[in-house]
């Protein structure tokens, strides 16, 4: 019996299922990056407070810490496994590939998480209950544990883009998969962003302390301005380096919207340079409302678009350039004894090979052709495109507007020959091409 290990399909109408992961992921990035950045900031402030005997820094750290508990350790820690869950629902085989390659890396990260979660409560609630030297040491270890979580997850998310070299395919080794050419630039790009975010959040806290202590509020706002500028610079520098380490298919996708992206980044950079400059020169002008709005600007204009771009640039793959977004294994990985599924799919078809296709759709007939086409379209296309006439997320209606069945078929044939680097090279039996084309044509995009 020929079977490929595909799972049931989860599809959210009009949007697809990948956007759920996108939303959860974007929220998580904001909170998790802030958390690591704040851990580094705490170490810096504690160091200064201890060495320079600045006891007035402690109430600021406590206030920041309380904010962090909710911001990062409620929202961040729930959305962390949340990405995992939603990604599993949307791309089960993609997540499975990551898990089976990196389970021990994730387990190691878990050890750091435990230290971080217990540590943050100790750091915040013991700030007035332990001596300052002990507190300083606690902040150092907390910062290292937080950076440790980044150090461990970064190789996994870098591998999602690509392993960086061919070594992994031959050895199957987690080290070769983890330490690709994009891992370290990616790591420092995120460290820069984390530092910047710690300053951006720090401005909300420092500006909210103006009534209690104006002088301290202004001093800390200035410091947060400098920290954010340094973080922003590191982010920009490593972003350029990171882009140079990405595969060709990523650049092919990037080229589609290069001008708009560059324009967006220039505008964002100018806006934030101005914002940080105001924090340094005229800290009085920053208030908690403005500071909170700027977090929203980062979330929507920076992170959401950035994450969407990163996800698009991975196309047509979802992990390691050997699993397509539509959950099909597209190449051999001899180091892991993994075989490409493309040849058998071309020969026998998805309906025949997928164990969750009901018996009535296993063989295409005149009666079931449209239903089979719909299921095939969902299986092959819906991870990236919404299918309906009213679809919202990368809708096919925009790509197949006004096309008849033969026109659609010709696109499917071209895809089967690998005509588009950012689309899966998915060759299907003629009957399945025909069923998909008939279904799309019936929608009259």
């Amino acid at each position: 019996m020929d079977i490929i290990g595909q799972f049931p399909l989860f599809y959210f109408p009009e949007y697809g299922s990948a956007w759920m992961m996108g939303i959860t992921g974007t929220i998580h990035i904001l909170f998790s990056h802030t958390s690591v950045g704040a851990a580094m900031l705490f170490a810096f402030l504690s160091h200064k407070a201890y060495k320079e005997n600045r006891s007035d820094y402690y109430p600021y750290m406590k206030k920041y810490g309380m904010f962090l508990l909710i911001f990062s350790y409620v929202l961040g820690s729930i959305t962390g496994p949340g990405i995992w869950n939603t990604a599993t629902a949307a791309s089960p085989r993609g997540i499975s590939a990551l898990i089976h390659n990196f389970v021990w890396v994730w387990a190691t990260e878990w050890v750091f998480f435990i230290y971080e979660v217990i540590g943050v409560f100790a750091l915040v609630y013991f700030i007035d209950r332990i001596d300052r030297k002990t507190h300083l040491k606690l902040t150092y270890t907390f910062a290292l544990a937080s950076v440790g979580t980044l150090a461990l997850i970064i190789g996994i998310i870098s591998f999602m883009m690509w392993p960086g070299t061919q070594a992994y395919y031959a050895t199957g080794s987690a080290s070769d998969a983890f330490f690709g050419i994009n891992t370290f630039p990616h790591m420092f790009l995120r460290i820069g962003f984390m530092i910047m975010m710690s300053g951006v959040i720090g401005l909300v806290i420092s500006s909210s302390m103006r009534k209690e202590n104006e002088e301290l509020s202004n001093e800390l706002s200035r410091k947060m301005g400098y920290i954010s500028i340094i973080g922003g610079f590191i982010t920009m520098f490593f972003f350029v380096w990171y882009m140079g380490t990405l595969p060709e298919n990523a650049h092919a996708v990037f080229a589609f919207s290069k001008d708009a992206i560059i324009q967006n980044r220039i505008i964002l950079t100018l806006v934030f340079i101005a914002y940080f400059a105001i924090a340094i020169i005229k800290p009085k002008l920053i208030n908690p409302v403005i500071a909170s709005v700027m977090i929203g600007v980062i979330l929507i204009s920076g992170l959401w678009s950035g994450e969407k771009l990163r996800e698009s640039m991975r196309k047509p793959y979802v992990a390691g350039q050997y699993i397509y977004s539509n959950q099909i294994i597209s190449r051999d990985v001899p180091g892991k004894n993994i075989k490409s599924e493309l040849p058998i799919i071309a020969e026998k078809g998805l309906l025949h090979l997928n164990p969750f296709v009901p018996a009535r759709l296993k063989t295409i007939t005149d009666e079931n052709r449209k239903d089979a086409g719909e299921l095939l379209a969902k299986m092959a296309c819906s991870n990236c495109h919404s299918l309906e006439k009213t679809g919202v997320f990368r809708p096919l209606k925009d790509r197949l507007t006004g096309m008849d069945k033969e026109g659609i078929k010709s696109i499917l044939y071209a895809m089967g020959e690998g005509a588009f680097s950012y689309m899966p090279t998915l060759k299907l039996p003629e009957t399945e091409y025909d069923a998909i084309a008939e279904y799309f044509a019936s929608l009259h995009y």
């Binding site: 079977i3 898990i99 270890t141 009901p358």
Partner: protein, 397 residues
């Protein structure tokens, strides 16, 4: 689902280590996770009673904020501890994990945001209670309800994952494919048993709480005695309820006379005797840990048997040994994990044991543990970068 399909759903990359190790780690970490789920549920639930009583009762005015704080911290810890069993289960039980997530994709999404809303509201409850704002009890009740709903969803995922016979029917009833992700299943007795455990867990927690604070001069002896008695009552009544529900559950699935089931019942009886006499609740807690491990083993046994009967044995999973990363995990877990957590818990213990400021710099154990944690973490970072650079050089030069 027959064996051919289930075996095809395994990841082609294989498992990177012996499957039994993942199975043991799953049992261990699920028990840890469950302990905090039950503690948070019990502490939150009891805090609502205290909150409704108001500040008139002198004992509850002390106990309630402590219960709220316990619930709050426990939720954070249960989330982080929950990551591990989630990780280990999907390495060896791919069919169960991935099929459940896709069949219940919509509920998965709702679960994430339910947790967020419930936990944020719980913080609101914490602050509202602290400030004694009007309606704080209501906020507490709503947040408790939302978090319980999240727990029910998690229960549904667990139940769906052990129903392989029905997966095809859930996905394509009468041959009509349903990709909506709204699959939801419940096993009331199993759920009732799991939830009931929160009563004895919070009872034994109260016994520990009372014992821990008994050396503090700023806590009245009558309060110490009151919280110990309250704990004993909760532990005894809760254990009796849990024992009945456990027997019903075992009868339902025909496992009552299985050695693990019998060992669990004996464990509960020992726990009952120890909780009733309350000679030393710290020892009672150790037995509770053993019982938690037995319950976790029972859950795993049920799943293992269901899958084995269908021809899916985790022990036959193809293996691609991956040595460097398991060495990293074991050394991090055993060295950094134990030293680091010992450092934090020792500090927390000593801070809690005294009034005023604890001078850790004069405490030899805390200082040495702190120093060791710091050096281990620095060494870890150095090894990480050396490993990464060496790997990169090997592969690109």
């Amino acid at each position: 689902m027959d064996a051919t399909v289930l075996l095809a759903l395994r990841d082609p990359a294989g498992v990177p280590f012996y499957p039994i190790v993942f199975q043991i780690l799953y049992i261990l970490t699920w028990a840890l996770h469950a302990a905090f789920v039950l503690l948070s549920l019990g502490a939150m639930g009891l805090s609502l009673y205290g909150s409704a009583k108001g500040n008139q009762d002198k004992h509850w005015s002390i106990l309630t904020p402590h219960l709220i704080q316990t619930g709050k911290i426990s939720v954070s810890i249960l989330i982080v501890l929950g990551v591990a069993p989630l990780l280990f289960t999907q390495v060896i039980y791919d069919p169960n994990w991935y099929v459940t997530n896709t069949l219940s994709g919509m509920w998965i999404f709702i679960f994430v945001y339910t947790m967020i809303v419930g936990y944020c509201m719980y913080y609101w409850y914490y602050y509202a209670h602290k400030a004694q704002r009007t309606g704080h009890s209501l906020i507490g009740f709503v947040s408790f309800g939302i978090l319980v709903f999240a727990g029910i969803l998690m229960h549904s995922f667990a139940v769906t994952s052990i129903m392989p016979h029905d997966w095809m029917n859930m996905y394509a009833p009468n041959g009509i494919v349903n990709t909506s992700g709204w699959t939801f299943n419940m096993d009331i007795i199993r759920l009732a048993f799991m939830v009931s455990l929160s009563i004895p867990v919070v009872g034994i927690f109260l016994q520990n709480y009372s014992r821990f604070l008994s050396t503090r001069k700023d806590f009245d002896a009558s309060f110490i005695s009151y919280s110990a008695k309250l704990g004993t009552n909760f532990a005894v009544v809760g254990l009796l309820i849990s024992a009945v529900l456990f027997v019903l559950w075992m009868l339902q699935i025909k496992y009552l006379f299985h050695p693990v089931s019998i060992a669990t019942i004996i464990g509960v009886l020992v726990l009952l005797a120890m909780a009733k006499t309350n000679r030393n609740s710290y020892y009672t807690t150790l037995v509770l840990v053993v019982v938690a491990l037995l319950i976790s083993t029972m859950r795993e046994l049920i799943r293992f048997d269901i899958m084995s009967a269908l021809g899916y044995s985790i022990y036959d999973y193809p293996m691609n040994l991956e040595i460097p990363s398991i060495v990293m995990f074991l050394s991090t877990f055993l060295i950094m994990g134990f030293v680091g957590v010992a450092y934090l818990l020792t500090m927390a213990w000593k801070v809690g044991k005294r009034e005023g400021v604890f001078d850790g710099s004069k405490d030899v154990v805390v200082t040495k543990l702190g120093q060791a944690t710091l050096y281990i973490m620095i060494a870890w970072m150095a090894i990480y970068f050396a490993w990464g650079i060496a790997t990169l050089f090997k592969n690109i030069l």
